[in-house]
Symmetry: C2
Subunit: 341 residues, 2 copies
DNA sequence: CTCCGCAATGTGATCGCTCACATATGTCAG
DNA sequence: CTGACATATGTGAGCGATCACATTGCGGAG
């Protein structure tokens, strides 16, 4: 309920009603010691009666604190970024912090900078960046902010608080699975090169292959979209690989579509693995083997790290979460071979 | 770049440097008349030199305005709601407004109320609600806010500014297509009953059927998730309907999966239509016929409506956008019949 | 009984801006 | 040359909180 009253009550109104000074009211509101229990009760009564709410503007003016965070989200409406935004926001609300969100449709450095400036103008106490694109993190980091900054990104970086899942290990587990199944020529459809996550997944693919003496053969690059997966699927030589590790589920959808169009079946002719485990993954035809990321945890980790730094503490290093391999039916041993030892 | 300087410059610093009074600086900053061009230039110079930025806290304290909006988003990480959030935010940024976002994972009335209260405490000048669930709009409306409120919801409502696409017509166009193809028994898998959009789509289905003298037969209810679509697909009697109009694409994915599992093919045995046109829709097997919503436009409409009301104007009624029917290959004439006149 | 010290409370300045009003400067008719 | 009236600029109060410091009240040691 909101009062239609002529004016919001101020700290002085409360003080008058409770018969104390405004300073005592301030003490009660901020839960400071040295207030007699009886006094505190009287004040709390008055507060309730007047529906008093401290003015954040006045408070911010003098304390230079706002209990407010800025969140920069790049990566568009993709499942991953938008889930992270959601969980970050809801974690913040639970912690009674307000968050300004700036969704960037593209990653224009100028736009990012001006979003950060808007945040600063609003007196945010910290900034979180979901760095779908590497440049986003760099641009913000280069601004040399005096307030804490935490970046969601797969690679750790000196002098930068970073949170994120271990994309590299996730990718390796996916490729290891294919190798275990007997695949020897495993292609990769990577995400955009500007994305650190994409880079890490590609590196994981390459390294796992190398660890087994295999060479990284066919590969392509996409922009995360199903359309990109489709384009790749129509273009590559399907006989050159018995399996494809795709950098995200959406592109895997497009790839499987192309494969179908070309008369190849999954997993009989070619195995496909995605990444993310979008809700649809389990219900594609065939259900998609993938690597699951815990976006809820990532969002919470980001917030916790940021709040720690805002409190002045060094951020306790959080172990990177390791994405979980999820086997479904888009992967099978290659036609030619049985399972390898 | 951010100054590491001891203290942010204030209006007085600028005034001193420019050799004018603080009030003149204020005039320049707020672009008020009655300042000589030469003076204005001197002040602007000083502002630039000192990297002066007005303090929003101080300004908000006296003007009681914050140039800030609160956005309540229900509907989780689904494609529709999260796209809308994204476009709303980015439109707001373009208009130089800041927005606080509160993503609600569930739609607990208490949580919604407290999110609104947090917004009020932050002095937001308006609130936008993406009402995935009807109750969300109701809860906020019932709070009798003194600030403007705009709700994204399919149905118009007296005394409430509402924005949204015409779900009803979208649904009718989908069903009309099926009827045109020759289908006579068209099932419906609805969204959750708490969702106004779901209600509208179901109503569209029912009315279009009735308009052709057909009866609404089999139908089910899901929660928008692929899993729900799958469950429905496994449970319903596939011989009782030659086509299914599904309330969203994600559930359609699950339904098609179930159909495949049960050895029915789409569209030969049963046609399927979804709603939303998620990016994956074009690349499913088969590519999904659906109804496309323009979330970008919806986000912008919400913002524009809200800003108009904040400016004191009555909101100019915006025509509801009509979702666009998109034919792909998950629909075909029923086995038994050819195309009808 | 006095004095000290701590707990409880009050006072006034201050944060950085805008608002309402006062004052200075300039221009032109009479 | 003077007054009137606009235009340009300055002054001081006040928004609603916190902060630093001053004051009061009370119980126990000397």
């Amino acid at each position: 309920m909101v009062e239609e009253s002529p004016r919001q009550a101020t700290i002085f109104d409360v003080a008058r009603l409770a018969g104390v000074s405004h300073q005592t009211v301030s003490r009660v509101v901020n839960d400071l010691p040295n207030v007699r229990a009886a006094t505190r009760a009287r004040v709390e009564d008055a507060i309730k009666k007047l529906r008093y709410v401290p003015s954040p503007a006045a408070r911010a003016l003098v304390t230079r604190r706002s209990r407010t965070i800025g969140l920069i989200a790049t990566g568009g409406p993709e499942f991953g970024p938008s889930s992270t935004v959601l969980y970050f926001n809801s974690a913040a609300r639970d912690a009674r912090w307000s968050v300004f969100t700036a969704d960037m449709v593209d990653s224009d450095p100028g736009a990012i900078r001006s979003a950060v400036e808007a945040f600063l103008r609003q007196n945010v106490e910290g900034i979180a960046v979901i760095a779908g694109f590497e440049v986003a993190a760099e641009v913000v980091a280069a601004m040399n902010l005096t307030i804490p900054l935490v970046v969601l990104q797969a690679t750790r970086r000196a002098g930068l608080d970073t949170v994120g899942a271990d994309q590299y290990r996730g990718a390796r587990s996916a490729v290891a699975h294919l190798i275990g199944l007997g695949h020897r020529s495993i292609a990769h459809l990577a995400g955009p090169p500007e994305s650190v996550d994409a880079q890490e997944r590609e590196r994981g693919w390459r390294d796992e292959l190398a660890a087994h003496g295999l060479v990284a053969a066919v590969s392509g690059v996409g922009d995360w979209s199903p359309a990109a997966g489709f384009a790749f699927g129509m273009a590559f030589d399907p006989d050159a690989a018995t399996a494809v590790f795709v950098a995200n589920d959406q592109m895997a959808v497009g790839l499987m579509h192309a494969l179908t169009v070309r008369g190849r079946s999954v997993p009989e002719d070619v195995s496909v693995i995605g990444f993310d485990d979008i809700p649809e993954a389990a219900h594609l035809s065939p259900p998609l083997t993938t690597v699951r990321q815990d976006f809820r945890r990532i969002g919470h980790d980001m917030l916790d790290t940021l709040l720690e730094r805002i409190d002045g503490a060094a951020a306790t290093p959080r172990p990177q979460s390791v994405p979980e391999f999820v086997e479904r039916s888009s992967t099978a041993p290659p036609r030619s071979a049985g399972r390898q030892p």
